[in-house]
């Protein structure tokens, strides 16, 4: 079905417009309505793009349109489009954005219009990240989404918000700058006429790049993106930032924005720099498995703060993603995309529910909770679903990605696979422990006091709707994974048709 307008552009512009209207100071009700439209429209358009997504696309782009913003001299044009890899993420961005937006609308945040406005800007950036074919705008939109995060952490964050916001900002700026340098270097070294991924692919396929150049650029991209994705040991911003961030910002950032780095690696760095990849793969796979999965996995177990635990778990899960990247195969990459989508949904849900829990228990300290299920069975059920999703229970979205990554990883390195599969146990430990501590067992003394003051009520409808959106998406993908895996595998099979020669060697070495 053809829309009379460019759905991608509209999905970016609509939230921005809504944000602009909010900044004019609309009356509260109208403002909320405008914000809701601003969140809803991208989600609907994303659903539309997903529904009518061609099945025979390969790695090509659809909905391709270009706009000149005045930097064509530098090869920069706003070019939008979706391929099999970006579409699922675009869809996920729309859904998570809608959920976090609705959750924010019902929240009782101080200076709500500003909060919603920043969130809308973030949403626009997120849609833009995955809709951009132009590498520069891909980066640009990421930053567009990133900045509101900092401000939101700073204004509406928890106790330690000042430090958290600052740390997050500086960390992520380092990552962003490194990756920007890498992208610019890629552009200049390839000799491409413009900055689009398509052109870069074409030119590099024709001319190729020297191995040393590939290696250097890949290092820039790897560490730049790695910081953004919280690759161990560059992760310390994430737990702090997320645990301090207001829920909607944490949802959008950890759920969607964080995937930017992985997406960049998948769409740009790996296919274009295969030899650079094979020089670095052992390092980052090792860091991911031992650092993210094992060390951070265990650190997650040690957390007693619910939100911190969710934050750490999100860092841990990135280890799977990097492991999947290391495989350099359609299976591994497809698995990573599946995992990114699923993790985006589930971690957003967890953050949302954590905040809802906090509203009822007045604390994030898990030892001060217990027995909440008695008062809030629906919240408990949702939390259990979210927990099991993130543990990787079949039937929920996360399972597919993790499984595919494990399967693919065996081809890369059986040893690392064995180590990484143990992450399955680790995540079960902290996930179930959290669920048990928060909801089950007898009430703790501290919680009994809170209950005595204010009896917790179950989720209200405004909290349920955003949560349900995410849960439905989790189930939908869990039960019908083909809807995502189909386009993904079409694209990944083209992009990752040939493994880099050196990568094969390293894989054999590590066997």
């Amino acid at each position: 079905m053809n829309l009379p307008f460019d759905p991608l552009l509209v999905s970016i512009v609509a939230p921005l417009l809504a944000a602009g209207m909010l900044s004019l100071g609309l009356p509260a009700k109208l403002g909320k309505a405008v914000a809701a439209i601003g969140f809803l429209l991208p989600a609907l358009l994303a659903l539309h793009c997903w529904f009518y997504f061609p099945t025979d696309l390969g790695a090509d782009y659809t909905y391709l349109t270009g706009y000149d913003t005045g930097l064509s001299y530098f090869g920069i044009n706003l070019m939008l489009g979706l391929n099999g890899i970006s579409m699922p993420l675009f869809l996920m961005a729309g859904i998570v954005g809608l959920a976090s937006g609705l959750y924010a609308i019902q929240s009782k945040a101080e200076r709500l219009p500003l909060y919603l406005g920043l969130l809308l800007v973030m949403q626009a950036g997120l849609m833009g990240v995955f809709a951009s074919v132009d590498v520069f705008f891909f980066y640009f939109f990421h930053e567009l989404a990133l900045i509101p995060t900092f401000i939101m952490v700073g204004i509406w964050g928890g106790r330690d918000r000042g430090y958290a916001a600052m740390k997050m900002t500086i960390y992520l700026t380092i990552g962003a700058m490194l990756s920007l340098l890498g992208l610019i270097a890629l552009y200049f070294k390839s000799g491409a006429d413009n900055f689009t991924i398509i052109e870069l692919h074409r030119v590099i396929a024709e001319n190729g790049l020297r191995e040393s150049i590939q290696s250097n650029i890949f290092a820039l991209l790897l560490f730049g993106f790695g910081i953004l994705v919280s690759l161990w040991p560059f992760h310390t911003w994430a737990p702090l930032g997320y645990s301090e961030a207001p829920s909607s910002a944490a949802m959008l950032h950890s759920g969607v924005l964080k995937k930017f780095g992985l997406y960049g690696l998948i769409q740009i760095a790996l296919p274009l720099l295969p030899e650079g990849f094979s020089n670095w793969v052992c390092l980052f796979a090792g860091l991911a498995v031992f650092g993210n999965l094992i060390v951070i996995g265990l650190v997650t177990i040690a957390q007693s703060d619910l939100k911190k635990m969710v934050a750490y778990s999100s860092v841990m899960h990135m280890g799977y993603a990097f492991l999947g990247l290391a495989c350099y195969s359609a299976v591994g990459i497809g698995g990573v995309i599946m995992m990114m989508v699923a993790h985006g949904l589930s971690v957003a849900l967890l953050f949302l529910l954590s905040t809802s829990i906090h509203h009822r228990t007045k604390t994030f300290e898990m030892s001060d909770m217990g027995g909440l299920v008695k008062y809030t069975p629906v919240l408990a059920a949702f939390f259990v679903i979210a927990t099991f999703a993130s543990i990787g229970l079949p039937g929920l979205a996360n399972f597919w990605g993790e499984l595919a990554i494990f399967v693919a990883a065996w081809d890369f390195s059986p040893t690392l696979t064995v180590v990484s599969v143990s992450g399955v146990v680790i995540s079960a430990i902290y996930g179930l422990r959290a669920a048990a501590k928060v909801f089950f067992g007898p009430e703790s003394e501290a919680f009994a006091k809170v209950v005595a003051e204010n009896k917790p009520a179950d989720l209200c409808i405004c909290e349920k709707i955003p949560a349900l959106i995410l849960i439905i998406a989790l189930f939908a993908i869990g039960l019908w994974p083909k809807t995502i895996s189909g386009p993904v595998t079409n694209a990944a099979e083209v992009l990752y048709a040939t493994a880099p020669s050196a990568a094969v060697d390293t894989a054999q070495l590590s066997r």
Partner: protein
């Protein structure tokens, strides 16, 4: 209706029921229970129709009825059914026992406030379990494997406000995950070795050589170790008794824990192609579990714990039976010696009978507990034979069946195992025989303490029989426990399994018969005379040393796990957390920012406010530039 369709219907009905309950019937407990029971009835009907209707499918190589579920690159996860006699038998057991448990639950859980959740959970469990049974490939098995784990978690956690229930459910899931760790690796290795995970194709695949050939079946066996609670992952099952008793009957006695054995039987070709070491490992783990659990059972005072350890022990029997492997067998018709997978036959046979009598006993204990107002301590019961006659009779049938009273179900299956052990491995035979003695001993002990003598508590005084919904299943299962050992009642529909059961002939037959009778009588009579119907454990009073030893045997693994979790894992995690916060977050990150800040302070301090200093800057600049111009720099 094609058989595939019936199978699909059987699989999906409980899912539909669960979905219905979760979405719409959360607050209508009674309605939910009816929906769920109806679904169970459909399952039972479907299972029996399929089993006795004769249709079998999915066994031919190259014609899998598969649906592609997900594909990434060349990695596909597909859904398909392999419905052979093995699956048919298992499915029938699941259907029948499931239905019994559902009906029993109607009465047992009548007053529960979270009935909808309970019955929803049962439905999910049925769905998942049937999935395991029907699955034609390992990934599908793994998927449903995880789902039964989840439903087990959900149902153990039913009384979720109790700390012990919350802990037990968590423990069950996590321990199972440890087993799944190996299971998943085994599947992946299998996928890479044979390029397929389809059970039929694996069976026909040319075996892999060397380490891989051993590694695949043993890694897959890890899954069974977890699910069937074999050593060393047995710790979760006794704790799982925190769940409602019908759940224990269905999941933790009859079906789910047996899924491990079922899965082993499904992948038997892998073991057959592997070097003997693989089977030996399985055999010894099973044997060890059987003996260990039997020893543990002796000192238990909780009626459900006794049954739980007994379940463990019997599961050990089955695993050991599987591990004993194949045997040469004289075919009755052709009068030639053929090799049969006697391990599979014996294990499955015992699985079947065990499902009946153990479910019976669990439901019986449920009836007792229900009657005694949720009193579970056997020393506070006694004399229930008069208060609850029906329960007493059916329970007695169960006890007799498990201890191997000739003519009852357990007798035949246990004999099959003992015979196999005698033929293949004498030490195992001896240990299993000892286990049989112990089984008779602790079972009769419990039976006597519960039903004979006088009542020892108020609750027991007021014990009463439950309603029809609770007694009917007892009757059905009681009948099945009586006749389940006669292969004739299966009408030859499961010959694919029962043909593999090795039957002793001639002198062997006599030996086995004598042995089993001897061990049964020794154990049963010993217990009958040893234990006094009183409020204290006779063993504890008379031989406190032995009692303490046995108790220690039981509690040591728990203590070890407890120690590991609290002292090693948690501390290690805390240390890592500390390092993460202090070393990376503190020293490195804050350190770097601190150093930069110091440089910043230094740079700031250069602005002294004195014009002369500023002029020196200019001088320095001029000098440096001069040097650059002169080429000396």
């Amino acid at each position: 209706m094609s058989v595939q369709f019936i199978a699909l219907l059987t699989l999906l009905t409980p899912l539909a029921s669960a979905t219905l309950i979760a979405l719409f019937l959360r607050k209508q407990g009674t309605l939910a229970s009816l929906v769920s029971t109806l679904a169970a009835a459909v399952v039972a009907a479907g299972a029996l129709t399929l089993a006795f209707g004769g249709g079998r499918f999915g066994e031919q190589l190259g014609a899998p009825v598969d649906m592609e579920w997900m594909r990434l690159g060349d990695f596909t996860i597909s859904l398909g059914f392999l419905y052979n006699d093995l699956a048919a038998l298992m499915l029938s057991i699941v259907g029948v026992v499931g239905l019994c448990v559902h009906i029993f639950s109607l009465g047992y859980m009548h007053d529960d406030s979270a009935k909808a959740r309970y019955f929803g959970g049962l439905s999910i469990f049925m769905f998942s379990m049937i999935g395991i049974v029907l699955a034609d490939n390992l990934f599908m098995i793994f998927i449903f494997w995880e789902l039964v784990g989840f439903s087990s978690w959900l149902l153990i956690n039913h009384y979720c406000l109790k700390q012990s229930a919350a802990d037990a459910s968590k423990k069950a899931f996590i321990v199972n995950r440890v087993g799944d760790f190996g299971f998943l690796l085994g599947i992946i290795l299998c996928y890479y070795t044979f390029d397929t995970v389809n059970l039929v194709e694996i069976a026909h695949a040319s075996g892999a050589g060397g380490v891989v050939a051993v590694a695949i079946p043993l890694l897959l066996f890890c899954g069974a170790v977890g699910k069937s609670a074999q050593l060393p992952l047995q710790v979760w099952l006794p704790d799982a008794m925190e769940g409602p008793t019908p759940v224990s009957a269905l999941i933790h006695a009859a079906t789910m824990v047996a899924a491990g054995i079922f899965m082993l039987c499904r992948i038997e070709p892998l073991f057959a192609h592997a070097p003997a070491i693989a089977l030996n490992v399985v055999m010894w783990i099973g044997t060890g579990t059987a003996l260990y659990a039997a020893l543990c059972a002796i000192t238990q005072s909780d009626i459900k714990k006794v049954l739980a350890y007994s379940t463990l022990s019997q599961l050990g029997y089955m695993v050991a039976a599987f591990g004993l492997g194949s045997i040469e067998h004289l075919d009755a018709e052709s009068h030639t010696l053929i090799i049969i997978s006697a391990g599979v036959g014996a294990a499955m046979f015992h699985l079947t009978t065990h499902a009946f009598f153990k479910a019976l006993m669990f439901l019986g204990s449920g009836s007792v507990i229900h009657g005694c107002h949720h009193e579970q301590d056997i020393f506070k019961m006694g004399g229930l034979s008069k208060k609850m006659p029906l329960t007493f009779i059916t329970f007695t049938i169960g006890v007799l069946a498990i201890i191997g009273m000739p003519g009852l179900a357990g007798f035949f299956s246990k004999d099959a195992i003992l015979y196999l052990a005698m033929e293949n491995n004498t030490p195992v035979f001896i240990i299993l025989s000892i286990t049989a003695v112990l089984t008779a001993f602790y079972m009769v002990r419990m039976w006597k303490l519960v039903f004979l003598g006088g009542t020892r508590s108020e609750d027991a005084d007021h014990a009463h029989e439950g309603g029809a919904s609770m007694t009917l299943p007892l009757l059905v299962l009681g009948v099945l426990s009586l006749i389940g050992g006669y292969e004739a009642i299966y009408g030859g529909h499961f010959n694919g399994v029962f043909d593999q059961v090795a039957h002793p002939h001639g002198s062997a037959h006599t030996t086995i018969l004598i042995t089993s009778l001897a061990v049964m009588l020794t154990g049963a009579l010993g217990a009958l005379f040893f234990y006094k119907s009183g409020p204290a454990d006779s063993l504890q009073q008379r031989v406190p040393g032995a009692f303490g030893l046995l108790n220690g045997l039981k509690s040591t693994p728990d203590a070890v796990y407890g120690y590991y979790v609290a002292k090693i894992q948690q501390r290690f995690a805390l240390v890592l957390n500390f390092l993460d916060q202090i070393l990376i977050g503190g020293v490195i990150v804050r350190g770097v920012s601190g150093v930069v800040g110091l440089f910043g302070l230094a740079a700031r301090a250069l602005h002294t406010g004195n014009i002369h200093v500023y002029v020196y800057w200019f001088l320095a600049g001029a000098v440096i530039l001069w040097a650059l111009a002169a080429g000396t720099l």
